[in-house]
């Protein structure tokens, strides 16, 4: 087991290294000079040349790459070309925004998804089951950027219940401590602002939750159905235990493993895959940060940003796999 863990962790290194190479070359293959972008349409040729030199972008690629990797090995993520700020400092607020959004989305997805899945399995082939599963199928078929826009139109523009975009009210800005605003507002004990943050979270997290919710619901259902057919559960039922207990305690305990996997994988996917949702809701998250950086050709930000997301993603997967291994002894390690 331990050697399996060690091997899995070690395997992360070549992957991250390979990624750094891929990203490095890919962004340099995109036409367009960062210096030109920063200086804008009105810049003179001399200005562009001077800035290119200052940024070291006129050096051969291997020099640039070695410098970058050298920095990384010393824990230096580099500096943003555009703002000049160290990325390690700059990135956290964006990452925090995405983490908050993803966790909120996962919370919704898990609560609704797991319960819907359980009820569907419990009352298999009931109208609830049918409706829930059809909704789940529609959910996975939904372009979420479309869903987000429709939500905005309905809840924000037509009904005027919730704010259209952003994380906070500009007129009543939140003093960041951890940059997870739900936490920050609780820490500062400002309930008004806490509600504000919740309101801003509702629409984007609902949009983002749709797909994982649907997947979790389907997974929970099928996994529950399998468990509930087992002798063990039949016995429990035969013993006259209340159905609620049978379902929620005994069956769920046994059915939860594949569901956990899905939850882990989906959380990882949300972290980097929320670009469109972040765009539509002007959510200052990491996906948007990197996407904008592509527009500005901010090479260091793109490189380090993608590497950070990938690292998180890989480690979430790793943890899921390990958990899986711990919970389910039937798994072989090869």
């Amino acid at each position: 087991m331990l050697s399996y863990v060690v091997r899995r962790v070690l395997m992360v290194i070549p992957v991250l290294f390979g990624m750094s190479l891929v990203v490095f070359f890919m962004i340099r293959a995109i036409p367009g000079n960062p210096a030109q972008v920063i200086l804008g349409q009105k810049a003179t040729k001399e200005a562009v040349a001077a800035l290119t030199h200052k940024l070291g972008l006129d050096q051969p690629w291997y020099v640039q790459y070695v410098k970058y990797i050298g920095g990384l090995l010393h824990g230096d993520l580099g500096e943003s070309i555009r703002t000049g700020a160290p990325i390690a400092e700059e990135i956290w607020p964006y990452l925090a925004a995405t983490i908050e959004l993803s966790l909120a989305a996962m919370l919704i997805a898990v609560i609704i998804g797991v319960n819907a899945g359980i009820i569907s399995a419990w009352f298999q082939n009931s109208w609830f089951d049918y409706i829930a599963m059809v909704l789940a199928l529609i959910g996975v078929s939904m372009p979420i950027f479309w869903l987000g826009l429709m939500e905005q139109w309905l809840f924000s523009i037509q009904l005027d219940w919730l704010p259209t975009s952003g994380r906070e009210d500009v007129r009543n800005p939140i003093e960041p401590i951890t940059h997870l605003y739900l936490v920050d507002t609780l820490l500062s004990g400002n309930t008004d602002q806490f509600w504000q943050v919740v309101q801003h979270l509702v629409l984007p997290s609902m949009a983002l939750a749709t797909i994982p919710m649907a997947i979790i619901a389907r997974m929970t259902r099928s996994s529950m159905l399998e468990v509930m057919k087992s002798d063990y559960i039949r016995t429990a039922r035969a013993k006259g235990l209340s159905m609620f207990w049978v379902v929620y305690k005994h069956s769920l305990k046994n059915a939860i493993i594949p569901v956990l996997t899905v939850i882990g994988l989906q959380t990882g996917l949300l972290l980097g895959g929320a670009i469109l949702t972040e765009t539509i809701f002007s959510w200052p998250g990491i996906g948007r940060y990197i996407y904008d950086a592509i527009g500005y050709r901010d090479y260091p930000v793109i490189q380090s940003g993608i590497l950070i997301i990938a690292t998180i993603f890989i480690f979430i997967n790793l943890i899921v796999d390990l958990l899986y291994a711990i919970i389910d002894p039937r798994i072989k390690y090869n």
Binding site: P34, K42, A85, W195, F244
Partner: protein
């Protein structure tokens, strides 16, 4: 029984969600309505992007200058609605007869936000700082004043403090738009102490003499400025706080305005004009036009090498329809490369009318009776002069199709777009320009002279006669003679047709109805000194 438990549970969850939503509503109104009792004194200005740096001399982007305009003052300033000059930090000035010596009397008793005093030494310090820089550090300085200290083309010979409140500029050669240049937002006077203290980080800690003091900058989200209580213009500014927020999407920004999250929004989609006009709570602000949108016809590529073809394409575009559909009428058709408000504009020029037969005739004459295929590049980003490049390209594509010219719409991301244009890789392309200082040179020379090929002359249009005229005009200080030269230049451009000039648009802003004293300036940078809520 058990089913019931379940449905109760479900109902409970639904109820919680509804309450959440309900809370949303009540809080929302509380937040928005709270302002109504007392007069609002914080103005939130919604715009499309964040600033790059708040050291005005180091930037070229409008989003930075918009903010620094309120933190800093320049020696001279533009009047509210045009680019004529008025005193600012300099109260009066004299010009020697040979046009080489400018002497400025400075305003007394002005303090920088850090408490240090504004005087002649501070002015000299700033100009020395820029002149000793290079194109990378202070790009605008080089392009407006002919280079830097070591360059022969550098216009300014020296800047000296005659006494505590008198500064003298000695030029190497006359520069017609010198005063207008001094009024440009980038050439704002910064606190020498703060510049020394913060060094490279001055752009994050800007200290000037302006109506607002820098308070906070959260990248990509907001910049907060606070009232300068000791501002030299007594009784101003009226606002207590000025907040710039970035909302990239035009329609998202409008939603934010409609919901009261912001007070003024920039770049209203012309197509949304009606919606805002019909709403009593809001008003429309129109920024006087100082721009031009055009289709560049790269003079070095394929059929476009032929002047007749370029003229034919000029006949084929229905500017009126484009203005009605995509500018909601808020633009005027362009016939020259610069807008009518610029001195030297040649109004005698007759535009190519929309005439498909004439266009076909010219094409036939040029040897393309059945048309040809070209690429038409569409701008990927909205700009005030071109709110939606893609759609305007589609309209022009349809126009061209009628004379047999099959245009394939191509687009690249903005950075790539400019890069490829500068290399002359496009056939026909959409682009535009907003003037910096209201001078003809800033349009004609910058966009169409052969010297500008590789930077802003993306059409690769090169004409020696035009070049001679434009260079001569740069040094002529007699206003009338200068204007005559520019009028001649526009005739050449009309005949050679390196562009299809499309429109001069009136950029639209929308804001709350109770905002007073806001006059959008043609340069795109507004001073909020006199703005207030009623």
């Amino acid at each position: 029984m058990k089913r019931k438990t379940w449905f109760t549970w479900l109902a409970l969850m639904l109820a919680v969600m509804l309450v959440l939503a309900g809370c949303g509503k009540s809080k929302q109104t509380a937040g928005g309505g709270g302002d109504k009792s007392s007069t609002q004194d914080t103005l939130v200005y919604g715009r499309g992007g964040d600033s790059v740096s708040l050291d005005p001399a180091t930037v070229t982007d409008g989003e930075s200058l918009k903010v620094t305009k309120n933190i800093f003052d320049t020696l001279l300033d533009y009047n509210d609605n045009d680019t004529s000059i008025k005193p600012a930090l300099a109260t009066e000035w004299t010009i020697s007869n040979d046009g080489l010596t400018y002497t400025f009397k400075l305003r007394q008793g002005v303090k920088f936000h850090d408490g240090t005093e504004f005087n002649a030494d501070a002015v000299v310090f700033n100009f020395e700082r820029w002149a000793n820089g290079n194109a990378d550090k202070f790009p605008y300085y080089g392009s407006m004043f002919g280079g830097y200290k070591q360059d022969d083309s550098h216009v300014i010979k020296e800047v000296k403090a005659l006494d505590k409140y008198t500064v003298q500029f000695v030029l190497k050669r006359p520069q017609a738009p010198f005063l207008k240049n001094l009024a440009m937002t980038p050439f704002a006077i910064a606190s020498p102490e703060a510049v020394k203290k913060y060094g490279d980080k001055f752009g994050e800690h800007p200290v000037g003499t302006g109506p607002f003091v820098f308070k906070e900058w959260k990248r990509n989200e907001r910049i907060v400025l606070e009232k300068n209580k000791d501002y030299w213009e007594k009784g101003y500014p009226k606002l207590n706080q000025l907040i710039f927020v970035s909302i990239p999407d035009n329609s998202a920004r409008l939603n934010a305005l409609l919901k009261g999250e912001i007070d003024i929004m920039e770049d209203l989609n012309p197509t949304d004009l009606k919606q805002v006009e019909g709403n009593k709570e809001f008003q429309i602000f129109k920024r006087p036009s100082m721009n031009v949108a055009y289709v560049g016809l790269t003079a070095t590529r394929g059929p476009l090498k032929n002047k007749l073809v370029r003229q034919a394409l000029n006949y084929a575009v229905d500017k009126k329809a484009i203005i009605d559909a995509f500018y909601a009428g808020q633009a005027e058709p362009a016939k020259n490369p610069m807008p009518p408000s610029i001195p030297g504009y040649n109004d005698a020029i007759q535009d190519y009318p929309f005439d498909l037969n004439k266009a076909k005739e010219l094409l036939a004459k040029a040897g393309y009776p059945n048309g040809f295929e070209i690429e038409l590049w569409a701008m990927p980003v909205p700009r005030p002069y071109m709110p939606d490049g893609q759609k305007i390209a589609e309209a022009i594509q349809a126009n061209f199709a009628k004379i047999g010219v099959k245009a394939k719409i191509v687009t690249y991301e903005w950075a790539t777009y400019l890069d490829k244009l500068a290399k002359g890789e496009a056939d026909a392309f959409l682009l535009g320009w907003t003037g910096d200082n209201g001078d003809a040179d800033n349009f004609l020379y910058a966009l169409l002279d052969k010297d500008s090929i590789g930077s802003n002359n993306y059409t690769y249009f090169s004409n020696d006669e035009l070049h001679d005229i434009l260079v001569e005009a740069q040094t002529v200080s007699d206003e009338n003679k200068r204007n005559e030269l520019y009028k001649k230049a526009q005739e050449i451009i009309k005949e050679e047709a390196p562009w299809i000039p499309l429109v001069h648009s009136t950029p639209l802003l929308a804001g709350k109805a109770n905002i007073q004293g806001f006059h959008p300036h043609p340069t795109g940078s507004d001073k909020f000194t006199k703005v207030e809520f009623r």
